[in-house]
Symmetry: C2
Subunit: 105 residues, 2 copies
C-alpha cells in the first residue's frame, strides 16, 4: 500500500516509536535496513529524500547529508500489518557506509 501523509496513520510504530524501513534501489537491490519514526516518514514524504531515525545518534538522519550518498524517494509503501515500510529510492553512490553498494554485499 502506498504511504502518504493520508495513509500514515496506518503505520504502527513499536514501543520506541520506530518502524523498520527497507530501502530498495531502482534495479531491485535491497540496499539497507534502517529505522524511522513518524517525523522521519513525514520528512521523507514531504522532502522527497529518504530520511530515517538514527538510533545511535538519536536524531533524524536524512541519508546523504554528510556522505553525499543521497536517496531520492521514488515511492514509499507500508505492509499489510502496517509494521514495516519500504522506500524505493534512486541511490547516489554506495548506500553502505563501508563503501559497498548495499549493506548486504
Amino acid at each position: 500500500m502506498i504511504l502518504s501523509a493520508e495513509t500514515l496513520p496506518a503505520v504502527k510504530f513499536d514501543e520506541r516509536g520506530l518502524v523498520p524501513v527497507v530501502a530498495q534501489g531502482e534495479d531491485g537491490t535491497v540496499l539497507m535496513l534502517a529505522w524511522a519514526n513518524r517525523e522521519a516518514l513525514l520528512a521523507s514524504l514531504q522532502g522527497g529524500r529518504a530520511t530515517y531515525w538514527s538510533r545511535s545518534r538519536k536524531q533524524l538522519w536524512r541519508k546523504g547529508d554528510t556522505s553525499g550518498n543521497t536517496q531520492v524517494l521514488l515511492e514509499a509503501r507500508y505492509d499489510c500489518d502496517g509494521d514495516a515500510v519500504l522506500y524505493r529510492v534512486r541511490q547516489a553512490g554506495p548506500a553502505c557506509h563501508e563503501g559497498k553498494r548495499s549493506c548486504f554485499d
Copy 2:
C-alpha cells in the same frame, strides 16, 4: 555478507533476541519483513526453508507449513552492522496472508 552456521555469531539480536529479516523473491521483489531469532536462522540455514519467529504466536514459523506458500531459501545475508538479515527465496504462491504477491502490494 553470506550468513552461514559459521558467520551466525556476527548477527546481533535485539533485547528480545530477534533480528529483522527481509525476504526478497528471485526477481528482486521485496516480499515481506518478518523477524527471526537464532533458532529460526539456524533452521533456515539447515533446513533450506525460510523460517521466522512468529511474534504473535511466539513460536518458530516455517513459512508455508500451514498455507503451502513456502519459501525455499536460496541465500541468506546479513548487513554491515549485523543487525538485519536478507533471505533470498523462491516463493511458492503469494507471500502475503492476504493473498497478494508481496506484503507491500
